[in-house]
Symmetry: C2
Subunit: 331 residues, 2 copies
């Protein structure tokens, strides 16, 4: 039996975000669906990069952001994800380790490059993501380390991994290891379009292997193919032990054991960039849950972390979340 060493172990795409501002007309002219994530290839990423404004590079990746958030709250955390042996890969590895996260997935040499996501932020703070996955889905060949996964109280998986077959296999392998070790398996659905593309696989996974499900309103509606949020929430509650459903400014609904807890969103003076809002909500919630806190406190920690992240550019915390949570009396 492996000893528990981490509150949360995350598995996801290892991405460096390239964040630039644009107006709505820029998105419209390129048929980019505001608020969504689309996958793009080498040529498309180069073409789009040429057309965007000056950018800022910040480490990202959905589950990676969450794991950094857990560490920022004072939790113990590890991350599994694939980078290449290139400059962006070194940036990703540096930043996640510097945040206090255990990260030792070896970089790939000589193949595809490290993933990057061109993130366009409109004046309303909404982000539209255009992701070149590069080497990121190549999680086969020993990247999924059983001992690390079994050492996590919760194993957290991002739905985005489902967009590539090789990553999907790694995803299932990790979930299997966690289940076998008696760990909790958490999943975020990641994106409405991602759910559309892989609905059946997600439904089976949620029902069979997931203990804790994170989804926003559009994702959970898409998963259960209903226009009614309450209906979707009911179905989620039947499928998983714990469903954490976020509704942006409307706050979150947490379903557990037949009960529903509603937690308001934390106030934000100005929404600068929504990138990472869901990721950091999950961070706060998972940290609280791993520490055995009640669901309402878990939800409040989620709201707090999400509020911090949307108040600035980028999806990594700019201030230690633990200090922030302490000033609010949450931890």
């Amino acid at each position: 039996m492996t000893e528990i060493r981490y509150d949360v172990v995350g598995i996801g795409n290892a991405i460096v975000d390239v964040i630039a501002r644009c107006d709505d007309a820029f998105l419209a002219a390129r048929d980019l669906k505001k608020g969504s994530m689309q996958l793009i290839g080498t040529d498309a990423v180069m073409e789009l990069y040429k057309s965007i404004g000056p950018a800022v590079e910040i480490s990202g990746g959905s589950a990676a952001n969450t794991i950094v958030g857990v560490a920022s709250l004072g939790g113990t955390a590890a991350f599994i994800g694939k980078v290449a042996d290139d400059e962006l890969g070194r940036i990703f590895a540096h930043d996640i380790r510097a945040a206090g996260v255990a990260f030792d997935t070896p970089p790939s040499k000589g193949g595809a490059s490290t993933a990057r996501s061109l993130i366009l932020v409109t004046p309303d703070g909404e982000r539209t993501m255009n992701t070149f996955l590069g080497v990121s889905p190549e999680l086969d060949g020993g990247a999924i380390k059983a001992d690390m996964i079994a050492a996590g109280r919760i194993v957290y998986l991002e739905g985005y991994l489902f967009d590539r077959e090789e990553a999907k296999a790694a995803f299932r392998e990790a979930a299997g290891i966690a289940t076998k070790a008696g760990r909790q398996v958490a999943l975020t659905l990641s994106d409405g379009f991602c759910v559309d593309r892989h609905r059946d696989a997600f439904r089976a996974l949620v029902k069979d292997q997931v203990d804790i499900l994170f989804a926003n309103e559009s994702e959970i509606k898409s998963l259960y193919q209903t226009e009614n949020f309450d209906d979707a929430a009911r179905q989620a509650a039947a499928d998983v032990k714990l469903a954490v459903l976020t509704r942006s400014a409307k706050g979150a609904v947490i379903q557990s054991g037949g009960k529903a807890v509603t937690v308001a969103a934390a106030p934000v003076a100005k929404v600068v960039d929504t990138t990472g809002a869901g990721d950091l909500y999950a961070a706060g919630f998972l940290y609280g849950h791993a520490k055995g806190l009640d669901l309402e406190t878990c939800g409040k920690l989620g709201s707090l972390a999400a509020a911090e992240i949307i108040s600035h550019v980028g999806a990594r915390p700019e201030q230690p979340l633990a200090a922030l949570a302490r000033t609010k009396g949450l931890i």
Copy 2:
């Protein structure tokens, strides 16, 4: 006779900034002098990078920041600087072009990598820079394009170039071309320690070839080896047509033709990161001067641009400076 196509042509190091927060103890433990720039080698940059916290990558470089500021104010601008054919080089080239600056210095292949500066920002907003110059000083072999320099109303050179022999030669070449073409030559002293290392060369250059000199208080005192600012200002006024001397929160003193104009610093709600303050002051001033505005307005444009840059992380404007200047009635 070459036609004027640019308000300002800048020549400087082409650097990507790697910006991380740290506390004063971190600087003290490593003998890093707060507020200064030190040059470091390959091993030292790798070692320091390992020890710093999560970072953000943003294009930088002193003269490059200035030139982007000129473009952001609506001026026409070009930049000459050397990057390698690598990821950071592509980031630098993208960002400066996306800002509307003409940049066509060809990247080097197979040699040193693109320059980066590890910038440590303390809680007081002060920045301490640790720069690995990489390929940046290699401005020989045709990088200094005479037609581009002759097409600039003002040629702006950064003093940091003096820290490497090959760049110093390029610097002199550029100044020579500008003078021969009847253009104005502007210089920023860049850093007190840089002035210490190259005082005699700077003194000769300022006296013989510079029309517009930018310096902060410690730099100008160092240049003339005096502890008295007024004394240094007097000597500067004797050496150049126009001396623009900045004194941080105390504002700036502009010396021209025997007159001195004092311009107050623009108010800033919170100093987040002083990186680029001097660079953007120069941007505002040079834009105004190229457009034939009076010295006080030039100074106010400088203060406005500097105030914008120190209110956020990074040395590139987050909002169009032209719009900002229009709301203040400056342009």
